[in-house]
Symmetry: C2
Subunit: 407 residues, 2 copies
């Protein structure tokens, strides 16, 4: 049985006319005798509306009750789509997480899917039904509803595609028609990528390219399920395929696949700190304990027993971090603290870096040519990131896009 799993995001089902349009698209697909399993997000804005209600009651809401509330949006949108299909004479049924046993871990609000029972899904597919599943949710051991964290419908789609051994998993978006070499709103020559590897996609996701949920990409990688990110309402566009690097056609392979930027980080420098063993641990322990995620860390060469140390934290945590460092000043003995919130983290991502040398040099030279000063550098296997001044972000994207022939 050839099965396609399609997932429609919140903006794709934002209103009744869009839901009817999707139903009509699905009807066209049914002409080709396709077996379709549809995963839907909540109508755009619904989840935020529910979150507002919750937040106005509780700052630290109970997980079970939170999930019971926040999961209702997808129930509504999935049944509306089922009704829209029935209106145009397509058999359709919703199967909730309790019906197909989408078993998850017990961690409410950010559960992970452990298994999906496909028996009911297959039963209805055999009867020529379109099966519709509310995304973003499962049930735990206690049969309470759990949710999978923001963007969790992507994860639902991949897990279901894996469990049912689907041909492919299509992630349909209203606002984008694929993965781009860089943010088209910042650089209009950004180009749609045809193929990208799971690892590259993961680096792009974690670096602020919000098209796919990271957990979903990780699971697709683990289960080796091809993801097709494409446009909901422009079905003639092929979109981007996220897949195993080895299977990407050679002529589609690039040294650098994309350029991402992140404007949500801030930089803190600790000046003139005593360079003694264990000093880094003394600095970062209280910060970590406060739940603050430190990303890049750079330490300068020590001169006369003193050194400077620079790191980045999310902008929203910068004041809390400075406060923690000041409270610990006597233990840390530094001479000054400098914070900089006007930074951009700019990264190039590409599986080709594993093979080709000199990629970093090309990046630094391109930024130098554009007269952009680099204040921090960090590298991983398929990614090079630089911290630059926020005002130079667009210029940097343009220069790097040209340097690596992404246009």
């Amino acid at each position: 049985m050839k099965i396609i799993v399609q997932k429609y995001g919140g903006t794709s089902v934002a209103n009744i006319s869009k839901i009817k349009k999707i139903a009509s698209n699905i009807k066209s697909l049914k002409k080709d005798k396709l077996n379709l399993v549809i995963v839907v997000s909540a109508m755009a804005g619904e989840t935020d509306k529910l979150l507002n209600l919750i937040n106005s009651i509780s700052k630290i809401p109970n997980g079970k009750e939170y999930d019971n509330i926040i999961s209702t949006g997808e129930r509504v949108s999935s049944s509306l789509l089922a009704m829209a299909l029935m209106e145009i004479n397509i058999n359709a049924i919703t199967l909730g997480p309790e019906k197909i046993n989408i078993l998850t871990t017990n961690t409410h609000m950010k559960a992970t899917i452990q298994s999906v029972d496909t028996k009911e899904i297959k039963k209805f597919l055999k009867k020529d039904y379109v099966v519709i599943i509310p995304g973003f949710q499962g049930i735990n051991n206690n049969r309470d509803v759990t949710t999978l964290g923001r963007g969790g419908s992507d994860l639902s789609a991949v897990a279901i595609a894996g469990a049912i051994n689907a041909e492919k998993c299509e992630l349909l978006k209203d606002d984008v028609d694929g993965i781009y070499t860089t943010d088209p709103s910042l650089y209009k020559r950004a180009k749609k990528i045809n193929y990208i590897s799971y690892q590259e996609m993961l680096e792009m996701s974690s670096l602020g390219s919000k098209v796919l949920q990271s957990k979903a990409v990780e699971l697709a990688n683990k289960l080796d399920i091809k993801l097709n990110v494409r446009s909901t309402f422009n079905l003639e566009k092929k979109g981007t395929i996220v897949m195993n690097e080895k299977e990407i056609p050679t002529k589609e392979k690039k040294i650098v696949s994309g350029i991402t930027h992140d404007l949500k980080q801030a930089k803190i420098s600790i000046i003139g700190i005593k360079d003694t063993p264990g000093i880094a641990s003394k600095i970062f322990k209280p910060i970590g304990e406060a739940g603050i995620v430190v990303d890049m860390i750079v330490q300068n060469i020590s001169t006369q027993g003193e050194t400077d140390l620079t790191f980045t934290v999310p902008k929203e945590d910068v004041n809390k971090t400075v406060k923690i460092l000041k409270e610990n000043k006597s233990k840390l003995t530094y001479s000054d603290l400098i914070k900089d919130e006007k930074i951009a983290l700019i990264s190039i991502v590409g599986a080709g870096m594993k093979i080709y040398t000199g990629v970093a040099t090309r990046m630094f030279t391109a930024l130098a040519k554009a007269k952009i000063n680099i204040t921090m550098i960090s590298t991983s296997e398929i990614k090079i990131s630089c911290v630059i001044n926020k005002s130079a972000c667009k210029k940097a994207i343009k220069g790097l896009h040209r340097e690596f022939n992404l246009g």
Copy 2:
């Protein structure tokens, strides 16, 4: 274990500040070590919002999907109340219909509760939790969500109170603080009734007094559960107790308990119809088949083999009814059709009518004194209804209220 079931209606949980107020009231009750089971409706307006979504997709929606959508409002409000309780350090948990097996018939959109499993409820009450249950819904044999029809949360509360053998079942309302002798918005001397029998309440409900769902009153009668209709936010007011007639204190018993009016009916007269056996059946068969509910029927004395027949139907169905009668004119052979949409159906309800005679005469005399013409009369064991001109409705209520000393 002494248990109280409380049900809060939609206007009582209409916004966050009301939900917090209810939580605070519940906290006060917990000081008296009460075991509380709370049934909640959806936040006012939510169910209509969901209905609008459904109606804009389908005129005859699929029952399973309809119920899946329309039941989400109560899930949200129940979990919000649970959170509000936890915020003020009261243990609370929601138990959905799937958790306590609120088994219903399979008729989606208007299911009837068959049984409730109280094991989980009792488990949490013993641990000193406030148990909160979303009203208006259950599950069927197939474990699909079903709903109980408009006002169904009353029915949920009564069924749960019955299953758990509750001390009493309180129905808390934001807009009214009990059952009144007549509509206070039409007659300001209307008085709150302290005690009313199930039968009287049923007649009042069916006659347009929309305070309680009829099915809920019937079930309370069957299970002999005292209902206390009272104000959500004026807890010092005792409200109205709906109970077995025999247990109502004698000094509280009245010949007539209340006066109701219904402005949603229209009257149709068929003039000069041949008075032959089977004629009534010929008239009402096609009307019934069109799903139109005929309420009162009056047939005049036959003269010269011809008669006039008058009946009432809901105003929204009057044109459809006339159309049906015109289509059947050849079979029915009448001379004229007269419709009148400007009528009021005014009724007095009272268990005392079973014992005392002359009640009807007192009603007719009171209306005559007020110079109100009666065009139709219908009586039942504890009710007398008259059709009058709509414009005389207020005057009629006033006259009857005085006649039966309800003020």
